[in-house]
């Protein structure tokens, strides 16, 4: 059944904060205040309200009652294995790569340059071999 929307705002939905002081944090929607705001919670922060405009919903959803205690929330996040699911998802992996790239120092960037050249060389060698095989 084709549903136009796959990710819903619901209690237990994991969301990614895309604006503001909390940028980059994964939070769990714990309750809905009104049309524009949700009460969110995360193991490292005090429960607070946030506007939906600052959130990006993810595919991950955990099973929690409405407004759970911090401990219940942390346990639910452990059982649902949110951290691993996030880091293995394509979105999560992209963020990790971005962070790594941003934290490179000059020597690392030099190493990256050499690695890229090496990789390019290997690809071109293979391509040349294939071209030769094609011609023959």
């Amino acid at each position: 059944m084709l549903q136009p929307f796959k990710r819903y705002v619901e209690i237990g939905r994991v969301a990614f904060v895309t604006y503001g002081k909390e940028y980059g944090r994964l939070v769990v929607i714990v309750d809905v205040i009104d049309q524009n705001r949700a009460l969110v919670d995360s193991p490292e922060m005090v429960r607070g309200q946030i506007n939906f405009k600052r959130l990006s919903l993810t595919d991950i959803k955990i099973d929690i009652p409405r407004v759970p205690k911090k401990k219940t929330l942390i346990d639910a996040m452990e059982t649902a294995d949110v951290k691993n699911k996030w880091e293995n998802s394509s979105w999560g992996r992209k963020l990790i790569v971005q962070k790594r790239r941003a934290s490179l120092n000059d020597f690392d960037r030099f190493k990256v340059m050499l690695a890229k050249i090496k990789r390019g060389g290997a690809i071109r060698q293979e391509l040349a071999k294939l071209k030769k095989a094609d011609v023959a």
């Binding site: 796959k6 990710r7 619901e10 503001g20 940028y23 205040i33 009104d34 005090v46 607070g48 309200q49």
Partner: protein, 217 residues
Amino acid sequence: METRTVSAARVYDYINVACVDHESARNVVCGAALFVSGSMGNFRFHQYQVVGRALPTETEEHPKIYRMKLWATNEVRAKSKFWYFLRKLKKVKKSNGQVLAINEIFERKPTKIKNYGVWLRYQSRTGYHNMYKEYRDTTLNGAVEQMYNEMASRHRVRQHCIQIIKTATIPSKLCKRESTKQFHDSKIKFPLVFKKVRPPSRKLKTTYKASRPNLFK
């Protein structure tokens, strides 16, 4: 020469005047230091408790002490509002009265979502009207701020033309407005229909984008 000491112990006839909040009347300063952005933002309107009385005279040694809870942007304005309301209710002015205490009232449970009912009296272009409005918010200051914003946008009523008669937290069963009642659902679920693509900080804002943004999901 008698020294006029008004200590906290000698509080006779403590009468609440208007603006009685059904929530706890005690001043609780929010203890937790680490507040994340979001809930406890900067409120334009702060709730103050102002306590005052007329100055004691020869005929009236211990005048009645009155307490008011009101909203103002700062303490100075709160005191001014206190005298404004008290003048309308009792025969006392700022010149022959004294403010005994002014304390800011903070939200007791800013992480709990509550339904607030606000009763207000406002002046429109044609006369005075009463209104009852409901808001869903985590803090009373937030709800009051919502109220002022809504009155300004919906009715073009400015801040100084609004008097808050009463505020209260309303249990979900007694809410009257459909717009608040629609969120009283423990299994609430809705999609975010329009996703506005926004750079994570204003510094990264650009006029032109390389590719069309994905507004879906």
